[in-house]
Point group: C2
DNA sequence: GGTTTACCATACGGATGAGTATGGATCGCT
DNA sequence: AGCGATCCATACTCATCCGTATGGTAAACC
């Protein structure tokens, strides 16, 4: 939480800037990532920034790579250790559904796909997750080509849901309704 | 096609600007919508633009509203006249899958959701389409709450697919593979 | 054919935000 | 305590892009 506007006034590291950048991206999108704004938020000025980074582009790049590596261990790592492959997918769905924070950055990057720097990062991340889903579906009993298509469908549904309910604020689905939706997803997407 | 860089040199109307704007948005995103750039592309200067529109924002608004109204008649209108409700959904899926142009603008607007002006438009359009899908699923035999969730799932899959395959260029799915994917969608999403 | 109206060019003002130059402050080490 | 390296502030430059002011040209109507 060392990110808000308290004048903490310890000296900053490159990592501080990257984390603050991710935080800002999650809240206001990539377009809002301006160095003077970030500096104000951190209680310093541009002079500090340009000591740590050569350019604004370099900061964005570093922040994106940090996010990519973090998400790698976090999101997938904890799921792989669910023993029963046939229980794995529903469990995955439910866990993912009840998190919130990890999706914020992903959703923000989703609506920043017109920025050339984020496209390759998102492509890699999405690709890896879909491959993960594909093997999960295979282990759940689907033949190879079906497993791939089901993974595509599932991940597309995830991405689309973020867009429709996070970004657009479509008729703000409430809590029970959301749980019902998740169970509906499980019922129609996961083979018995 | 009166939109490329030929110096056509007939005088322009507001409609010309709006169509050119939509074209530019489809190709380069909302962020690229700058008046001087558009003017160059149309073979005129800013002087022309500010005769037709009070501001850049006004042009974007007009273009979005034009797109919204056009899409209303086009995308939904032709589908409603498929007689058999149980044939309607698969037919809808296949038709939508084999169009291309209408999705370009939608995909471009999807990755411009950080722009306040496009959010309400996209919210309205998406909402209407999902309501359309919901009644289609009801007519196909699903009970009301299931129909709504299935419509959510379906439309989320559509939106996500655009993002993953249009915007990100994930391992560029080829033609036969794409057809197989569509059939897979039909098989898993549409009730027998 | 001359005047009104619609459309456009040119030239400017002003705001914003990236990047640079340079000097000052603070930390770590001896 | 003193000194070098690290970190930051201030004060610029420069490019971009929106919007304005104003005069010019071509179509339209009488």
């Amino acid at each position: 939480m060392n990110v808000s506007s308290k004048p903490e006034r310890t000296r900053l590291s490159a990592e501080d800037w990257e984390l603050a950048a991710l935080h800002l991206i999650a809240e206001q999108g990539v377009g809002a990532l301006a160095v003077e704004a970030l500096a104000r938020q951190l209680g310093v000025t541009k002079g500090s920034f340009y000591w740590h980074f050569r350019t604004r582009e370099a900061l964005l790049q570093a922040a994106l790579e940090r996010w990519e590596q973090y998400g790698e261990r976090e999101v997938l790592g904890q799921i792989e250790q669910i023993a029963d492959p046939r229980k794995r997918l529903p469990e995955l769905f439910r866990r993912v559904a009840h998190e919130l924070q990890p999706h914020r950055v992903y959703a923000a990057l989703l609506k920043a796909l017109d920025h050339p720097q984020v496209v390759p990062v998102m492509a890699r991340v999405s690709q890896r997750r879909m491959e993960f889903l594909t093997t999960a579906y295979r282990e759940a009993g689907l033949p190879a080509p079906e497993a791939l298509n089901r993974a595509r469908l599932t991940y597309a549904a995830y991405v689309g849901f973020l867009q429709l309910n996070f970004t657009l604020g479509l008729p703000r689905i409430n809590h029970e309704e959301f749980d019902a939706y998740v169970e509906h997803m499980i019922a129609t997407l996961i083979p018995v």
